[in-house]
């Protein structure tokens, strides 16, 4: 646990999403990977128009310009609650501006092959 960074976010969480409280898609998890679709932002309607995007949505797009991010990383960088980023990311996915790739489903997490890769990977990380 660390202390809060100095100051408060300029946009309160309940306004960052434009007043929307629930994501339009159910699968946004902390480890869902977000990436830009590559659709140009400045494109006419109906798809890919930045019009109507809350400022935080634009900030999320901007953050993804450097590469893909997990939802929780985007929340940390934008200093928004995870729940707000879930709403924003689902909206951007609806607008085909963002691709969202869900993490391994809980049923698959005890796959021995996956666990072995985690164990081997951790061992490889150790240095003398």
């Amino acid at each position: 646990m660390t202390g809060r960074p100095a100051g408060r976010p300029l946009v309160p969480a309940y306004l960052s999403t434009g007043g929307v409280a629930r994501p339009s898609r159910p699968h946004m998890e902390r480890l869902t990977v977000l990436a830009l679709t590559g659709e140009p932002l400045r494109q006419g309607p109906p798809q890919g128009s930045p019009e109507g995007l809350p400022a935080a949505g634009l900030a999320l797009l901007e953050a993804l310009e450097g590469g893909s991010l997990a939802v929780v990383e985007a929340a940390a960088l934008l200093r928004l609650p995870v729940s707000a980023v879930r709403v924003l990311a689902a909206d951007l996915e609806d607008r085909r501006l963002v691709l969202a790739r869900p993490p391994i489903p809980p049923a698959g997490r005890f796959d021995p092959d996956l666990l072995k890769r985690v164990a081997d990977g951790l061992r490889a990380l150790k240095h003398d």
């Binding site: 960074p5 100051g7 976010p9 480890l31 990383e73 609650p81 993490p103 490889a124």
Partner: protein
């Protein structure tokens, strides 16, 4: 509406030092399977220290609203309430060879964090419970939460310099009321190799468990 923070790729405020490798938050192109392990324990037990010693990025944190984290975790209702308390949840990340990216979430153990706990624990491989042998009773709550959530776990005693040595492993196990097959290791959360060994104790435990249990 005021704009959100514009410099979204820089390190969060509060960190020091020149920008470097640890400030590159974006995922590597090789990232394929994202998994998480909870690093759980009471305040001050060394969760963030352990995460920081292993993480490839400077540990980040999210502000979590305790009142919002109900059964409906995606509901923002209540955030407007000024009395909502927030807690900072630290996390770090390690990209492993083979496309696996391991996230470590520092998770506080008090009972009042239960709903938040459930949300963070969803889909986790397991939990590494950090214990300070000078104050074992501070870890009872967190052990209760881990057990109730059904997450497999291992216990790591974070060795503080003034902690009593050789407390007696069996006595500690009894005091913590651990199952016979629950791994318990000692570690120095400041040391990367030592922290990795503690995580390995958990992952090896996951690999050797009865597969019938792993549901």
């Amino acid at each position: 509406m005021a704009s959100a923070p514009s410099s979204t790729t820089s390190a969060p405020s509060g960190t020091t030092g020149a920008p470097g490798e640890k400030d590159r938050v974006h995922l590597p192109d090789t990232a394929r399977d994202l998994v998480k392990i909870l690093v759980a324990g009471p305040f001050g037990v060394g969760k963030t220290t352990l995460i920081g010693s292993v993480s490839e990025i400077r540990p980040l944190h999210t502000e979590e609203h305790l009142s919002e984290a109900s059964a409906e975790v995606d509901d923002l209702a209540g955030v407007r309430d000024k009395t909502t308390t927030t807690v900072a949840i630290d996390f770090g990340r390690v990209s492993l060879p083979g496309g696996v990216v391991l996230y470590l979430f520092g998770t506080p153990g008090q009972e009042r964090f239960r709903a938040l706990w459930d949300d963070i624990a969803y889909g986790a491989l397991g939990a590494l419970v950090l214990v300070d042998s000078r104050r074992i009773d501070a870890s009872f709550d967190v052990l209760g939460l881990v057990e109730e959530s059904g997450l497999p776990y291992a216990v790591a005693l974070n060795e503080f310099p003034d902690a009593p040595r050789h407390h007696g492993v069996e006595r500690l196990r009894r005091a913590l009321d651990l199952e016979a097959d629950t791994p318990m290791v000692t570690c120095d959360a400041r040391d990367a190799n030592s922290s990795i060994d503690a995580l390995l104790a958990l992952v090896d435990h996951l690999l050797t468990r009865d597969p019938v249990e792993a549901r």
